[in-house]
Amino acid sequence: MPPTPSNLLAVPLPPPFLLPRSLLRKPLAGCSQKRTFGIKSIEPQPKHNPYNVVSGIKPLLSSQAAAYERRIKSDTLPLRTGALAIKKGMTAIYDVETGKRIPCTVLQLDRNEVVSHKTRKQHGYYAVCVGSGSVNPKNVAKPMLGHFSVQGVSPKRHLQEFRVRGRDGLLPVGEEIRANWFMEGQFVDTRSNCKGKGFAGPMKRWGFHGQDRSHGQSLSHRSHGSLGQGQGGGSRVYPGKKMAGNMGGQRNTVQNLKVLQTDPENGIVVVNGAVSGPKGCVVLIQDALKKPWPQVPDAPKPSEVNAEL
């Protein structure tokens, strides 16, 4: 009995986004492709399928869609968006019951608003673009000013995308993120640029031990030693060899900081421990990746609002 189209379709296929487009456009049964002539843009001809698509084949693992699936499966994307804060300084607070003194960093959120979204359909991933602070519109480029104008938010000093796992994490555009977005007791990751140390030697930059003070050393007490093998190692210095160079001033993530206090009125978020960077630097706060996702009491479900995305 020749295979009918219904039979063929019954074979379990990979999810539709894994299949090449040419397959989706025409049913599988249409293997005898109709040849058309004339203007191609009017009647697009089926493209030659570069993939070996037969029933029962495993889906490709090196495609963008498969990578996205893996990312979702690995659970390394936060459910909620983060916020932008300014590091204001460090202090210590006491735990009144145990008397423990806890060093902490005071961060301040300032006029955080959702400026735009990145969607899987349009951009390939879900993210919330959050802006904070304010800036004189005179100093904003026209294209950006138009962007803010269309989205209905004021011009923002700092703009940052926060990736979220799915459509549920897309907070509506124009929504304000206050300090109580983070709950006391939850854990967050902070990202900020650490203090620049300038051109640093290998001892400071990489923790090398340096060389002897004496024993015939001349002018090389704090320098690195050998850079690698000779003939056996290819007679070259490998890429990424740790050497002296510019240190600091780069993005640094501090994971799993506990939120000790929040104050939405004044935009204050107090986190346990230190956050990289000088006072006044921009700090990205988002739910900690390596802890269970926080239980939000009245989680906003923007999926209804953004159903068309």
């Binding site: 519109p137 104008s149 304000e176």
Partner: protein, 233 residues
């Protein structure tokens, strides 16, 4: 007259002849420029035939919905509301740890009766154990203020730095004021054997006795040593 001109034409080329004529032409041009005036921009007529429209740039075609840029107002600024968040957090801490402000007043620089270096301070912890000693240093400010006390217990010198606003501290009292104002802010010289004040236990006992007399023996439980001495008296 024609003779010299003809001779010139014959000797010179046409270029030099043109050069002679040029000033006249330039003058003519400048006259035109003067008459032109400012350029006036005209709107695209609305009743233009549709087949002509593609000749215009897109932005000039009628019916194009050109949106003006609107600068939306900024929401209320948290940074403007609270200029000093660190100070705010610290003040809130202080209001919890030291609601009456008595502890802060004890180390307030504006207070003439504050604790000074060289005074003997008696500190009681919530666990009940007292720690006393001579104040060597007063460090820090706000909720971070700390005092460094020095004492000798069983002939062994001991120094303890205590956070003034620690919730573990029950009370802080000045047992004895320094008789003479110390001329140093930090009395690190007390660590030298020749300057060490030794044990302050006697001073503290005397203070406890006096206090118990004033308060009518209500606080006699403070030290067991005191009770026994009272009995002797």
């Amino acid at each position: 007259m024609s003779q010299p001109l003809a001779s010139r034409l014959s000797t010179c080329c046409w270029r030099s002849f043109c050069a002679e004529m040029r000033p006249q032409r330039q003058f003519h041009r400048s006259m035109v420029t003067l008459q032109r005036g400012p350029v006036q921009k005209l709107d695209v007529p609305s009743d233009l035939p549709a087949q002509l429209l593609p000749q215009f740039p897109e932005r000039y075609r009628p019916g194009r919905n050109r949106r003006d840029i609107v600068v939306h107002p900024s929401p209320r600024s948290e940074a403007e509301t609270c200029k000093d968040p660190v100070g705010l957090v610290e003040n809130r801490q202080l209001s919890v740890l030291d609601p009456t402000g008595a502890r802060a007043r004890l180390f307030d620089k504006a207070n003439p009766d504050r604790a000074k270096v060289g005074d003997v301070l008696l500190t009681t912890f919530k666990s009940g154990e007292p720690v006393s000693g001579v104040i060597m240093v007063i460090k820090g400010s706000g909720p971070h203020t700390s005092v460094l006390l020095r004492n000798q217990l069983t002939t062994i010198g001991m120094e303890m730095s205590i956070k003034v606003h620690s919730p573990l501290v029950q009370s802080m009292e000045i047992a004895q004021r320094t008789p003479k104002r110390k001329r140093r802010a930090r009395l690190y010289y007390l660590r030298k054997p020749e300057h060490d004040v030794g044990s302050v236990q006697k001073v503290v006992d005397q203070y406890l006795r006096q206090r118990a007399m004033l308060t009518g023996g209500k606080n006699a439980r403070q030290g067991g040593t005191f009770r026994s001495r009272k009995g002797k008296k």
